[in-house]
Symmetry: C2
Subunit: 114 residues, 2 copies
Amino acid sequence: MGKQMTEMLKGTLEGIVLALLTGKPAYGYEITTLLRDQGFTDIAEGTVYALLVRIEQKGLVDVEKRPSEKGPPRKVYSLNTQGKQELEEFWRTWSFLAERIDQLHSTDRIEGEK
Amino acid sequence: MGKQMTEMLKGTLEGIVLALLTGKPAYGYEITTLLRDQGFTDIAEGTVYALLVRIEQKGLVDVEKRPSEKGPPRKVYSLNTQGKQELEEFWRTWSFLAERIDQLHSTDRIEGEK
DNA sequence: TACCAGTACATAGTATCGCTGAGTAGTGAA
DNA sequence: TTCACTACTCAGCGATACTATGTACTGGTA
């Protein structure tokens, strides 16, 4: 992706990951592949791990270490109460922003038709 | 607004301003008040002017200095061809991201209802 | 055996971007 | 002359994603 996407992901990537964790705990490598499957093909592994460290330090997730059949042990992250609250606020912030931007988009189209 | 909004504006604020400039040139102070009217009440003046410097250096806008009846001369920014292209790419990037996030939002709601 | 791909996590350094806080300058009203 | 409004500028800060690299374990294969 381009620079635009990189900048746009700031602030949204955390919400995306929190949303992915809703109801289904996951570990870092898994989250990375999930993101890639969802179309975020260029998200760097390092980005995800750094983000996970951050949300763990903020106390938004609980962590459990589980052995893996293939490779090093996995760190499984699950959303806790505080994480769910943060996610709710993320949705509020996102909705506010998306509403306004989509409105700009539609008026822009109309301008363009003139 | 909170930190979430601050981070989310990264990458989107530039697009918002470019969209505001579509069809109607404007100067910095005017853009700031436009943003506030649109609900972005906490956008700092300094942020807008810095952004304008950036998009000017990137060659996305043409600038014209006009005297003002009240205060220092205005720098009027208007979108040029390159700016319009950048705006189009912004909409593509935005649509991609918004689509995926909105999808996550809806599946999240369904999860929550379980 | 030696090598490589896949799994899994970690981190130091960099660039970008928005915010804070302060400053400069002009106008007009109390 | 003091204040409010208009209008722009800039240095320093914090947060976030990317780059690049490294560690470590498993299993297949030449």
